[in-house]
């Protein structure tokens, strides 16, 4: 594996696992709790954020040398707001059902901490391709997390899976805000538990590789004294 592939692999792993926006950094919580009543809505929200992340990261990275440091935040906000407004127009025209389902959470993507956070921490300092990869994988990490929460809440709250009725039961608690917090908390705990175990296993393996096995010292031949 060459160096650049390794670099992109690391960016992708960071976006998906190490710096997972939902489960590790706990960013964009408002949309996570509000939109995760069904798997389809969660998936749609996740993909929308991914598109905005990708476009805003690429544009901010392209303009990083032209934007003065003093006005970087307003400039980022204008760029992100433009991308979100474009996305709104496209969704309203071509996917009206998703547009209706997302409601107030769609314009709220503008103030999603994940997007501004990646713009400030990554895209404003890194080249275009790196920023694009970061945008895609941070967005996919968020999409996976949101969809997982959506699947759990929809299944327990409505007995359905992606809109298909699979069980004849429903627990109203999971469709409410309290249920959203509960599922979110459990997911964070499990995610941190498993990623921590994987990290520990990796560290142990690395330590074992670094450990040099003890070599027997070469025997010193005594000189014969006549």
């Amino acid at each position: 594996m060459n160096a650049s592939m390794k670099k992109y692999g690391k960016i992708a792993y960071d976006g998906l696992i190490t710096n997972n926006a939902t489960f590790k950094l706990v960013l964009g919580t408002c949309a996570t709790l509000g939109m995760s009543t069904s798997a389809v809505n969660s998936f749609g929200m996740g993909l929308s954020v991914t598109v905005v992340l990708l476009l805003s990261n690429v544009i901010i990275s392209l303009l990083r040398k032209a934007i003065p440091n003093a006005v970087r935040i307003p400039a980022f906000v204008v760029i992100i707001a433009t991308m979100v407004t474009l996305l709104r127009m496209v969704l309203e025209k071509y996917i009206p059902d998703l547009y209706d389902a997302m409601g107030v959470f769609l314009p709220l993507i503008v103030v999603n901490c994940v997007i501004l956070g990646r713009a400030e921490a990554f895209a404003s300092k890194q080249p275009v391709l790196d920023s694009a990869v970061d945008g895609i994988f941070t967005g996919l990490g968020l999409t996976c997390a949101l969809t997982l929460i959506g699947i759990i809440r929809e299944f327990l709250g409505s007995g359905s899976f992606f809109g298909m009725q699979v069980m004849d039961f429903k627990i109203g608690f999971f469709t409410n805000a309290a249920g959203a917090f509960f599922v979110y908390g459990i997911c964070i705990a499990l995610f941190v538990f498993f990623t921590d175990r994987v990290d520990r296993a990796k560290r142990v393996k690395k330590a074992q590789l670094l450990r040099v096995p003890a070599q027997p010292l070469p025997a010193v031949e005594e000189e014969e004294v006549n």
């Binding site: 032209a66 003093a70 006005v71 400039a75 433009t82 474009l86 127009m89 409505s158 469709t175 409410n176």
Partner: protein, 206 residues
């Protein structure tokens, strides 16, 4: 600071960059708005397709301002559907959650006879479809089962009755939605359609 120094300063550069970004973003959005604009006709066609599942021909019925306003709601528009001879109402019910909270619904009223002959009679509700709301945070809890209650109440509708979200005696609405105010606004939207039909189309009392 001289004029030359100002034009070389970071402040000027910051302003210029921000203005340039805003202008480009504005131009891009203006072009896209023109390309992706959704007209009222397109919105209405989408709503009809959502309600009927197929293309239908609907003619708007003219109403005066007085005929649109009711105690707990208002009639936004009424359409006569050529295919089945029923009336499609777009109504907004008040009394929802929060100050000025409303629920807007599409309601298809089934009837016999014709308005021209003066023998129009209300027989029931064929379908109620959610359209939009103002300030209702629990709208996502309203599933098909909620709207089906209206569709299964032909006797109540034909008998001149109205719907009540809090009328436990009828058992019409359970509280599974957890949203009494929003249920009230939804009931008011349907009741407004019924009131308009009874007074304007049938010439009776609401």
């Amino acid at each position: 600071m001289t004029v030359k120094a100002f034009f070389k300063s970071t402040a000027f550069k910051s302003l210029a960059v921000l203005i340039a970004i805003v202008l480009v973003a504005g131009a891009l959005l203006a072009v896209c708005n023109d390309l992706l604009y959704v007209s009222d006709e397109e919105r209405f066609a989408r709503s009809l397709a959502k309600i009927y599942g197929s293309e239908v021909t609907a003619t708007e019925v003219e109403l005066t301002d007085e005929e649109r306003a009711y105690q707990n709601g208002s009639v936004d528009a009424v359409y006569y559907v050529e295919e089945d001879g029923n009336y499609l109402f777009h109504t907004t019910g008040t009394g929802g959650y929060g100050s000025g909270g409303t629920v807007t619904l599409w309601t298809i009223l089934t009837c016999t006879g014709s308005r021209e002959d003066g023998d129009l009679a209300l027989t029931g509700i064929e379908k109620v479809v959610y359209d939009s709301n103002s300030g209702q945070t629990l709208m996502a809890n309203f599933g098909d089962a909620f709207y089906a209650v209206f569709e299964d109440a032909d006797e109540l509708v034909a008998g001149g009755g109205n719907f009540s979200a809090t009328d436990a005696e009828d058992g019409l609405f359970n509280l599974e939605t957890g949203a009494t105010y929003t249920s009230t606004a939804a009931c008011n939207a349907v009741n407004t359609a019924l009131a308009c039909f009874r007074t304007v189309f049938m010439g009776g009392d609401a």
